[in-house]
């Protein structure tokens, strides 16, 4: 039996976590098919068919698929699910919203947010904000799985030429309507996939003070993160939140500035390769996970940090 992955995209291109999800899904079974549901997304279908790990692309279009409402997507995925042993997508807000709706319609107990494929029915997943890992075995005949994208490498984007099969749309769900999406456009790398992330917490004291962080982010080509406290206080918008109920990031370098390090925040960043903490409270729990800790007033340390970076001949991008 084959694995069906639901592609995440914006009708123009694939969203980057689809590449991580393809890697994960191919570890379950190499006969991997990808379903692309959208509107006017021909180019996305073509880019999927070029990915060597993808064996077949199912492509379906309708006006009401343009904005990814789970109420419209779920019945369609259920309809095509018959030939598949596993249905997979990313455990980000796209997949978290969608997969349980599919799973319940198929009477399957979903396995959420896996970080490792142990065998086609056995997976490793974090619970309690990553403070425990549980090995689970699904006994349902068919399985619905969401994968934690940052736990799998992105796949190769070329080398394939799989067939694209057009399929029929299912009916529109009339009781839900998309109104608008407010995306913050930024030239910075995406938080979820950035090589370097610099995050601010309550210690930043105001939204205006994030300019100190922005200056360093510019220098390091970093994405900007935040603790829940900073988002709740209105210093920065929600899509920057790192943590148990926000985003999980695994950059090469994570710099936590004025963040105390509540377990809910650590859940979103403690797998980072190198962690730096800058905090004036030497007892802050963030220091227990930091490779390099600097006990200092961030309002003095950040300008110095920028100055030191300016002295370097080269900086990795």
């Amino acid at each position: 039996m084959s694995v069906l992955l639901i592609a995440e995209h914006n009708n123009k291109e694939l969203r980057p976590f689809t590449f991580n999800a393809i890697t994960a899904a191919s570890q379950i079974d190499t006969d991997l098919h990808v379903i692309l549901i959208g509107d006017n997304c021909e180019d996305v279908a073509k880019s999927l068919s070029k990915i060597s790990l993808v064996k077949k692309v199912l492509h379906v279009e309708a006006k009401y698929y343009a904005n990814f409402l789970a109420e419209n997507f779920a019945p369609l995925v259920v309809k095509v699910s018959e030939n598949y042993s596993h249905i997979v997508c990313s455990a980000n807000t796209f997949g978290k919203n969608l997969m349980p709706r599919i799973s319940a319609l198929l009477d399957i107990s979903q396995v959420s947010d896996i970080i490792k494929v142990i065998s086609p029915d056995t997976f490793l997943r974090p619970i309690y904000a990553g403070n425990a890992l549980v090995t689970v075995k699904s006994t349902d005949k068919k399985k619905c799985i969401t994968i934690r994208p940052t736990s799998f490498d992105p796949c190769e984007l070329s080398g394939g030429s799989s067939p694209i099969e057009k399929i029929e749309a299912t009916n529109e769900f009339s009781s839900s309507k998309f109104i608008k999406r407010e995306e913050v456009k930024s030239d910075r790398p995406e938080l979820g996939t950035a090589r370097v992330v610099i995050s601010g917490g309550r210690g930043m004291q105001s939204g205006d003070n994030f300019k100190l962080i922005n200056a360093i982010a510019d220098k390091l080509n970093a994405a900007i993160g935040a603790s829940r406290a900073a988002v709740d206080a209105g210093y920065i918008s929600n899509e920057h939140q790192v943590g148990q109920t926000g985003k999980v990031v695994v950059p090469d370098l994570y710099i936590a500035v004025g963040i105390s390090g509540a377990i809910q925040h650590l859940a979103g960043m403690k797998e980072s390769k190198i962690i730096v903490a800058i905090n004036k409270d030497g007892e802050a729990p963030i220091f227990s996970v930091a490779d390099y800790g600097l006990e200092a007033d961030l309002f003095e340390a950040l300008p110095q940090f920028l100055e030191e970076l300016n002295k370097l001949n080269t900086i990795q991008k």
Binding site: A74, T93, F94, K96, N97, P100, R101, S103, A104, L105, D107, I108, S109, Q110, V111, S112, Y128, A129, G130, N131, A132, L133, V134, T135, V136, K137, T139, D140, S175, S176, F178, I179, K180, R181, E183, V184, V196, D232, S237, N238, E239, Q244, T245, K247, L253, I263, K270, I275, V276, F287, D291, Y292, L294, A301, Q304, F305, E307, E308, L312, Q316
Partner: protein, 249 residues
Amino acid sequence: MKILVAVKRVIDYNVQIRVKEDGSGIVTENVKMSSNPPDDNAIEEAVKIKESGKATEVVIVTVGEEKAQETVRKALAVGADRGIHVKADGVIEPLAVAKILKKIVDKEKPDLIFMGKQAIDDDCNQTGQMLSALLNWPQATFASKIEIKDKKLEVIREIDEGLETIEVHIPVIVTCDLRLNEPRYASLPNIMKAKKKPMETLNASDLDVDITPRVQQIKIEEPPKRKAGVKVANVAELVQKLKNEAKVI
């Protein structure tokens, strides 16, 4: 309009959990329990809507062991009207909870169902979406703002890219984000009064729902620990170490 709020009792969010040595689970003996944090936002929103005159009754439901009643009582103490406790022991998977809740919905016929977007113990993020699938209702997940507009809700959802606004017809399920509102605390007189509010107790086994777990927990373990790092004396040393030792900049 009637609002049903589903709540869960979990280990308090401030507790550093411990894994049992034999790998069979998490230590829960003598551990502080609380209501699941985003469920408090769901309760608050329901009570606020009732206070604004747009709803007539707020009913709280929970599925779980005997002590899960405490979580319902807490909701009654901040303004909910009555509670339903569906008794069930052991691991109840989100799909089973959704099936139990569907039975309650069939009987109570609420117009709105609120719950937290995710439970902070199993971190599944499934129950609301599953219940809406079983009921064939619209779903508004990860809500940070709700506005009632006649027979519809306009909901702002927190998504990875930013914010999304959707319009959903009532009846609808909303799963609540932590930024939806600021949950209130119960006053002592209200805690006393809540003890007299009606609480219905049911057994999951009487509801004709199969709640047998479908996902076996083979082993629970602690994640690998990070090795302790070093404190640096100043910014110059930090940048040197990042450049020459860690080689990340």
